[in-house]
């Protein structure tokens, strides 16, 4: 057979492509369940980390069940639109943040930790190389940050990727979102700088764009929950 003929080349390429496609589809099909499971567990671990509960892949599901008491979806007016924890868990934040504010689904997780109620809110934004995201837990006053956990997909190791580390995240605890009655979010500033109008944490030196990304992400994503934050004051007044 002439290996250089067009027919041979054509058939060879076709058969090869079909075989490779089948092999890849098979691998994906076999591993799909494990992938989904892994990303669910990963998400649970991140949510738990935002309330300072360290979980690994073996106990994440148990700890999640113990600590997260309920989850629901809000609209931008702060009304509960969906009470099912499953649908709140499966909301993809990356798709929500690009919608207009009125149409967004805003998930909230409620955790009970040592008798305190904590609210966990997901955030999603852009770093230098790719997306960054995280979970912010608020005290029951819906203003003071209890703790945060950030993740990223491709920030520079040692620079932007430091947003996932304790030294960057710990200073968020105790910071407040509201100052003088207005929503101000949290600033991420170069060390030495100060902001009078809002609470601030130190940026990562060498990771300026990622740090800025965190600041923008907090402002944009937490801003969508304004109505939810302000419900507390309204509720207090009624009492």
């Amino acid at each position: 057979m002439n290996k250089n003929s067009n027919t041979y080349t054509f058939i060879y390429a076709s058969v090869m492509v079909i075989l490779v496609a089948a092999a890849l589809a098979l691998t994906n099909g076999l591993l799909k369940e494990k992938h989904n499971k892994n990303s669910e567990i990963d998400k649970m671990t991140q949510i738990l980390r935002s309330i300072k509960v360290e979980a690994d892949k073996n106990n994440a599901e148990n700890l999640f069940e113990q600590n997260i008491k309920s989850a629901y979806i809000l609209n931008s007016a702060g009304q509960v639109v969906n009470k099912s924890p499953e649908s709140a868990f499966s909301v993809e934040i990356s798709k929500e943040v690009i919608k207009p504010l009125e149409e967004r689904q805003l998930p909230v997780y409620e955790a009970q930790l040592e008798g305190k109620t904590l609210y966990i809110l997901p955030v999603y934004g852009a770093g230098l190389w790719g997306p960054i995201w995280g979970y912010i837990s608020l005290e029951s006053d819906r203003n003071t940050i209890f703790a945060v956990s950030f993740s990223h997909s491709g920030e520079t190791p040692g620079l932007g990727a430091e947003i996932t580390t304790e030294p960057f995240q710990a200073p968020f605890s105790g910071k407040v979102l509201y100052k003088d009655g207005d929503f101000r979010s949290i600033a991420v500033l170069k060390s030495g700088q100060k902001s009078d109008s809002q609470d601030a944490v130190d940026a990562i030196s060498g990771g300026t764009i990622t740090s800025k990304g965190v600041e923008d992400m907090l402002l944009a994503c937490l801003g969508a929950y304004k109505a939810f934050f302000e419900q507390v004051e309204a509720e207090n007044k009624e009492e």
Binding site: V20, T27, N28, S39, W129, S151, S153, G158
Partner: protein, 205 residues
Amino acid sequence: MSTSKKQILVDPLSKNNPVVVLMLGICSALAVTAQVKPALVMGISVTVVLAFSNVIISLLRNTIPNRIRIIVQLVVVAALVIIVEQVLKAFAYDVWGQLSVFIGLIITNCILMGRLEAFALGNTPFDSFLDGIGNGLGYTAILLIVAIVREFLGSGSLMGYAIIPSSFYEGGYMNNGLMILPPMALIVVGCIIWVHRSIDKDLQE
């Protein structure tokens, strides 16, 4: 193992090292070497992909139409890389998260195409397998050396564990942030090449 087979396996470790002698795969040596752990996983992944794509291309070598051989090689490499990525995602999720983009970039690693063109197309499957393992290990070795230097000087740790005691930092010692930036990887590779050539005089031009 006969001497010639042994040579196929051992040569790429030093005398024919893909990174410091053949100058292939430099780009990934810059990208993943800021820390030891990603460098190690990257090295293992490249070794696996290289060994198996070598074997597959070597098995097919008498059937591949000459005009589309590069395309065939690319398809085989790409398929293997995707499988490796899927396996990592299923069984080593955290490492997968760390390497994400770079796994895909194994496809463009010049070592792969280089070895397929230069070796697998003209040798038996077993020899090709040894060649793949040898080159993969040679690549891994350089990656590890660069990563150890960069993580130690840049972050004061190895494999994520702090090595430099905190009392040093209190005494005024500072991590060298420059080591974490890609240009330093190039300079470290340059230093390795310098040392390597001054030991092995045959390589000097």
